[in-house]
């Protein structure tokens, strides 16, 4: 399984086959999900129509956590198996995860103002999610801070693994400590506490976010591989030597 990452050409072929399905899934579930969220789903018995922010906020929060988990897993694979592609996948997921975290924070502030009466409080849930956002920014900065790309990759992978302790903290902060943020509504013991008429739009939007993330991740990995190939060709051309990676076999 891990060895798919050893062969970029095979990975690209596989990703190319999956990509159209990701776009199709994102378009269909995104369209249907938005329609359900805005027009079909009912207003909440306490919060009225402001509950519709949930259909953006919660999928974004889930993707922020999922993307970070993916970054940590691929960082571990990169450090242990040294497949260059694992670093590329981890690096591609970081800006996407940062985007989802930003959506989660901003929509959460808007929702918090309407329901709690404040934009922000420093409770354990909100603070740990803000830490996640800074972790993402740190990973972006760290990768760019080294002249030697390999060292930057390794430093970022280590930070990603250290930062992973934050993920269970975010998830369980609402159970471990007294927070203003309410406990989990969907992934909880005893089943979802959301009425099906609101749960289904939420899950549809979650699938849309996930498919969109997968599509952008594949494209981002493809762009990075092309960029490295280009870099290698330019270096080879600069040394006035034939390209080494077989792209231009007939040029030698």
């Amino acid at each position: 399984m891990v060895n798919i990452l050893a062969n970029p050409a095979r990975f690209l072929r596989l990703a190319g086959a999956v990509l159209p399905w990701c776009w199709a899934a994102a378009a269909v579930t995104g369209g249907v999900g938005l329609w359900l969220a805005v027009f079909v789903s009912p207003a909440d018995y306490q919060q009225g129509d402001s509950v519709r922010i949930m259909y953006i906020h919660v999928p974004a929060a889930w993707m922020a956590l999922a993307a970070y988990t993916l970054v940590a897993v691929f960082s571990a694979v990169a450090l242990v198996w040294k497949h260059p592609l694992a670093h590329i996948v981890a690096g591609a997921a970081v800006p996407l995860g940062a985007g989802f975290t930003a959506i989660c924070l901003v929509t959460g502030m808007l929702w918090g103002k309407t329901s709690w009466g404040t934009w922000w409080v420093w409770d354990a849930r909100l603070t740990s999610v803000l830490v996640l956002f800074f972790l993402y920014l740190g990973l972006i900065a760290l990768r760019g801070a080294f002249d030697d790309a390999e060292r930057g990759n390794r430093a970022a992978a280590l930070l990603a693994l250290v930062g992973f302790v934050n993920i269970p903290i975010i998830k369980f902060s609402v159970d471990w400590w007294a927070t203003l943020h309410q406990p989990a509504s969907v992934l909880r013991i005893g089943g979802p506490a959301i009425h099906p008429s609101m749960l289904w739009p939420l899950l549809t939007m979650a699938v849309a976010f996930m498919a969109y993330f997968a599509a952008l991740l594949i494209l981002s990995v493809r762009a990075e591989i092309a960029g490295r190939k280009l870099q290698a060709l330019l270096v080879a051309a600069g040394r006035n030597e034939p390209a080494a990676d077989g792209l231009q076999g007939e040029a030698r």
């Binding site: 493809r222 092309a226 280009l230 792209l247 231009q248 007939e250």
Partner: protein
């Protein structure tokens, strides 16, 4: 008709919070795609041009 539309955008009084939330999400999601596609076009385009030049330059 217009009353229904106005009522819809008012979102039961929460329109000022609901619509900015959706708009911000659309902006960030769109920005993510724009950034990835721009990088993809740049690197794959440069690769294609190099390949064309190499093939055109052959005797």
């Amino acid at each position: 008709m217009t009353a229904a539309v106005t009522e819809f955008f008012r979102m039961g009084g929460y329109g000022a919070y609901v619509w900015p939330a959706f708009a911000f999400a659309a902006l960030v999601l769109g920005g993510m795609a724009w950034r990835v596609l721009a990088r993809l076009r740049a690197s794959e385009g440069a690769l294609d041009r190099m390949r064309d030049r190499a093939e055109g330059g052959r005797p």
